[in-house]
């Protein structure tokens, strides 16, 4: 396993790529974000976006999947996230786009109360033209070397 101590400020990575299909965009939109420009090709053509685009929350979900796959490959001992500082839907993601996520670690600090450490990470999602489509700056929590996994919290606390 690789722990909080193994992650350094300035580290960069390419997490992976994913080609977004129209079916995926429609399925996500039907379930979670049924705005016309995410859901209906005809309506989307007449919208300000000029065609079908993925929900921003779908792009975030794709970024998360690429991040989890990367964490597993790198055997990183991640234990979740307390939150996101900022998320910007910079450009639309359209059917057929191949998106790639690139990350940089910008900050690192240990928890004062738990056997974990925090990192702050900037993640940019780019399309096949090299345009940034999504930027997420957020915090991740990782186990520390030689420390047991943090204790289970009770469901009612």
């Amino acid at each position: 396993m690789r722990y909080w101590e193994d992650i350094k400020v300035g580290d960069t990575a390419i997490l992976g790529s994913h080609t977004v299909t129209e079916d995926e965009i429609l399925a996500f939109a039907r379930k979670y974000d049924p705005q016309p420009f995410h859901l209906d090709r005809e309506a989307a053509t007449r919208s300000i976006f000029g065609g079908l685009i993925a929900s921003g929350w779908h792009s975030c979900a794709i970024m998360m999947r690429l991040s989890v796959d990367h964490m597993k490959r790198e055997q990183l001992a991640g234990v979740g996230s307390p939150g996101i500082d900022s998320c910007r839907f910079v450009k639309p993601v359209r059917p057929g786009d191949t998106v790639t996520v690139r990350t940089e670690i910008t900050e690192s600090w240990p928890s004062k109360s738990k056997p974990i450490g925090f990192i702050r990470r900037r993640a940019d999602m780019l399309n096949q033209h090299g345009d940034v489509v999504l930027t997420v700056i957020g915090v991740g929590m990782f186990q520390r070397k030689g420390e047991p996994q943090p204790q289970a919290r009770r469901a009612d606390t």
Binding site: S47, A61, A155
Partner: protein, 159 residues
């Protein structure tokens, strides 16, 4: 634009930038969180053990199966779609700030939303648009705060 100038039946006008007041609050939504949906979302987007499997969840710091935080965000946008978005003259969102995953969302939670308008400003570069910051708080049936964020929404201005 896709949003009709009046809602179905013409009973209510759409809310434009000028109609939004700082301090406006609303409560709405009902989203029943199921084990099946938590696992379905996690398989596709966030396959970490504590989102996929009850036993793995028990062995984790979370003490049981919990929803992906991004799944909770997706449930929030669904509740906004079912209430606020069709009534607002918006042109999408720039994104959000200050997302906090305060407590895990678990099977059996029934979620609802509280929104509050924090700030509004005319766009300098686009005179037809105003930028509105809205805080959304996701709560469960016991009133526990699960997640909060501040959306940055583009409202159209009345001509």
């Amino acid at each position: 634009m896709m949003v009709p100038e009046r809602s179905e039946g013409g009973m209510t006008d759409l809310l434009y930038f000028e109609d939004v007041k700082v301090g406006d609050t609303e409560r709405f939504g009902r989203y029943e969180v199921t084990r099946e949906e938590i696992i379905e979302y996690a398989r596709q987007f966030d396959p970490q053990p504590f989102h996929l499997d009850e036993e793995a969840g028990k062995a984790s710091p979370f003490g049981g199966l919990i929803a992906s935080g991004w799944h909770t965000g997706a449930m929030l946008i669904r509740m906004l779609n079912d209430h606020s978005i069709p009534r607002a003259a918006t042109s999408g969102a720039l994104g959000f700030d200050d997302l906090k995953w305060v407590k895990p969302v678990r099977p059996g939670d029934i979620l609802s939303v509280e929104t509050r308008v924090l700030d509004k400003a005319e766009s300098r570069s686009r005179p037809e648009i105003g930028v509105v910051k809205v805080e959304s708080r996701v709560l469960n049936q016991a009133g526990e705060l699960k997640m909060s964020l501040v959306s940055i929404i583009l409202y159209r201005r009345r001509r």
